[in-house]
C-alpha cells in the first residue's frame, strides 16, 4: 500500500490490483462509520487500483494512519447488492462469444455465472465499472465508438462490464439490455450501482 501526495488537501492510496482497491474502499467506509481519525474527507473516490481521499484538513496525519493499516484484498462490506435482469440481444454479443471461443449461449452463461462488484464510477454520472470477469475474458473496445448507446445497455470492455446509466456515445461491446432505470436524478441515491456493491446478471426474456 503506497500513499501518494495530491496537493495540500488530498491523498491517493495505491494498492496492487482492483480487488485490493475494493478492499481498501470497503475498509475506509467502515472506518468512516466507526472511528475516522479527525474530520472526514469530503470525497472518497475508488479507482482501478487506487482510492482518492479529497477534502482532508490534515493529509499528513491521515497518511501516517493509513500506512499502519493492513491491506485486505477482500471485497465488501456493506452487503448491498443488485440483480440485473438482462435480455442478451446486443449487436456485439456474437463477436464477444467469438473472442471467448464460446457459443452465444455459453457466453451468456459465463456472464450470468460471474459474481461482479462495482469497482468505481467514471466517464459520466452513474457510469459504473463493474469488475469480476476472469482476466482471460477481457475484450477490446470498439475501433470506432458508437455515437449513441441507449440507457440500460449492458456492455463489456477490458475486464469490466457496465450498464449505460444514460444514453451517451460509447466504445464498449454491447451484449444486451436491462429495463432497470440505472440513473434517476430525482432518486436518492440517483445511481442503482455504487462502488462496492455486488452485482449479478440474470437472463430475462425479451
Amino acid at each position: 500500500m503506497k500513499v501518494l501526495p495530491v496537493g495540500r488537501h488530498a491523498l491517493l492510496v495505491e494498492v496492487d490490483d482492483q480487488w485490493a482497491a475494493l478492499g481498501l474502499y470497503a475498509q475506509i467506509q467502515r472506518r468512516l462509520d466507526d472511528c475516522w481519525p479527525g474530520p472526514p474527507p469530503t470525497d472518497v473516490v475508488p479507482g482501478a487500483r487506487t482510492v482518492l481521499l479529497d477534502g482532508l484538513e490534515d493529509p499528513g496525519r491521515v497518511a501516517r494512519e493509513i500506512e499502519g493499516w493492513e491491506a485486505v484484498p477482500a471485497p465488501p462490506a456493506r452487503g448491498e447488492s443488485l440483480v440485473c435482469p438482462t435480455v442478451y440481444d446486443g449487436p456485439d454479443l456474437d463477436d464477444v462469444a467469438g473472442w471467448w471461443g464460446m457459443s452465444r449461449q455459453e457466453a451468456i452463461a459465463a456472464h450470468t455465472a460471474t459474481t461482479f462488484y462495482v469497482a468505481f464510477c467514471g466517464f459520466s454520472p452513474g457510469f459504473a465499472y463493474i469488475a469480476g470477469l476472469p482476466s482471460g475474458l477481457a475484450v477490446p473496445r470498439l475501433d470506432t465508438p458508437r455515437p449513441s448507446v441507449p440507457a440500460g445497455t449492458v456492455a463489456l470492455a477490458g475486464e469490466y462490464t457496465a450498464v449505460y446509466p444514460r444514453s451517451s456515445p460509447g466504445g464498449w461491446q454491447l451484449i444486451g439490455h436491462t429495463d432497470l432505470v440505472m440513473w434517476d436524478v430525482s432518486r436518492d441515491p440517483p445511481a442503482l450501482l455504487r462502488p462496492g456493491m455486488l452485482v449479478r446478471f440474470v437472463e430475462a426474456d425479451a
Binding site: P5, G7, D43, V45, V51, L52, D54, G122, G126
Partner: protein, 289 residues
C-alpha cells in the same frame, strides 16, 4: 411580493452564462463533478453585496456579459471580471449594490480584464436544485442548461438588508500567472528534463480552455517512456494532468472525476480561482513546492 412572481428575463444570454453556486462536492464516487462557481471569492462577494447568503445561486458570465430585464424590483451586483454595467441605459457601478426597478434593463458588457463576471440578484437565482445544487455542470449536463435569449429565471424571495458599501475590495485578474504547484501523485511519469521544465517553462493559456480545464500551449513536457497505461484514478480540482501530447491542463470545477493520464502536481485554491479568470494567451508558469 408573493413567491413565484419574481423573475428576470434573459434579453441577451452572452457567449456562455450559467447558474452557479457551491456545486456538488461529495458525489465524486458516483462520477458527479464538483461543479460550482470558478471564482468563489467573486461569487460570494456578489451575494454579500445584495444581502444574500454567501452561497446563493448567481450567474457566471464568460467574457461577453449578459443583459437581463427585471420582472421585479430588486438589487443586483456585478463582481469578478470587471465589465461596464448599466441600468436602463445609464452607467451603474461594478462591485457595488445596484437598484433595479421592475421593467428596467441591466446590461453587463464585455469584460475589460479576466473572463467570468458574477451577477447576483437579491433572493438568488431560484432554479430547481439537482443533488443540492443549482449549478450548471457543462461536462455532465447536470443542473439548468446555459442561459438562452428569452428564457426566464425565477428569483427567490429570501434575502437580508443590502450592506452599506460603496467599494468592495477585490483583486483584479492578473496579467500573468505564477501558480504554486504542490506535488501530485504521478510526478515520476515526467522525465528529469520534463520535471525541470515544469518548474521553469512559461506556457500560454489555450483558447480551448473551459469550465472543465484550463489548457496550456507551449513546448510539450517530456514524459518517461512508458508502455503501460495509467488505470483510471480519482482526480481533484487544481490537478495538473499531462496527457500523451505533453501539454498540461489544470482541472477546474466541471472536471471528470477520474482520469487515465498522470497528475504531476496540484494547484491550490487561490491558483484555481486565478485560472478561472485567465484569458487565452495569458502567460502562465509554476513554482514547485
Amino acid at each position: 411580493m408573493t413567491a413565484g412572481r419574481r423573475w428576470l428575463v434573459v434579453v441577451r444570454a452572452g457567449s456562455l452564462t450559467t447558474v452557479q453556486d457551491a456545486g456538488r462536492p461529495g458525489l465524486a464516487h458516483l462520477a458527479i463533478p464538483p461543479s460550482g462557481a470558478l471564482d468563489r471569492p467573486a461569487w460570494r462577494l456578489a451575494n454579500r453585496l445584495v444581502g444574500n447568503p454567501e452561497d446563493a445561486a448567481a450567474l457566471e458570465t464568460t467574457v461577453t456579459g449578459v443583459s437581463l430585464r427585471a420582472g421585479v424590483t430588486c438589487v443586483v451586483a456585478v463582481t469578478g471580471a470587471p465589465a461596464p454595467v448599466s441600468v436602463g441605459g445609464r452607467a451603474a457601478g461594478w462591485g457595488v449594490p445596484v437598484a433595479l426597478q421592475a421593467g428596467q434593463l441591466l446590461e453587463v458588457g464585455t469584460a475589460t480584464a479576466g473572463v467570468r463576471s458574477y451577477v447576483a440578484v437579491s433572493g438568488g437565482i431560484d432554479v430547481e436544485r439537482v443533488f443540492g445544487s443549482r449549478a450548471t455542470d457543462v461536462l455532465s449536463g447536470l443542473g439548468p442548461p446555459p442561459l438562452r435569449d428569452g428564457c426566464i429565471l425565477p428569483v427567490g424571495s429570501t434575502f437580508g438588508p443590502v450592506p452599506a458599501v460603496d467599494f468592495a475590495p477585490y483583486a483584479l485578474p492578473a496579467a500573468r500567472l505564477r501558480l504554486t504547484l504542490h506535488p501530485g501523485p504521478r510526478r515520476q511519469w515526467l522525465s528529469e528534463a520534463g520535471m525541470a521544465a515544469l518548474g521553469t517553462q512559461t506556457w500560454s493559456v489555450s483558447s480551448e480552455s473551459n469550465r472543465i480545464a484550463l489548457r496550456l500551449d507551449g513546448p510539450p513536457l517530456e514524459r518517461r517512456d512508458r508502455l503501460e497505461e495509467l488505470p483510471s484514478e480519482g482526480v481533484v480540482v487544481g490537478g495538473v494532468q499531462v496527457p500523451r501530447d505533453g501539454l498540461p491542463l489544470i482541472f477546474l470545477a466541471d472536471h471528470p472525476t477520474t482520469g487515465g493520464y498522470p497528475v504531476v502536481g496540484v494547484v491550490d485554491t487561490d491558483g484555481v480561482t486565478a485560472c478561472g479568470q485567465a484569458r487565452p494567451g495569458t502567460p502562465i508558469s509554476f513554482e514547485l513546492t
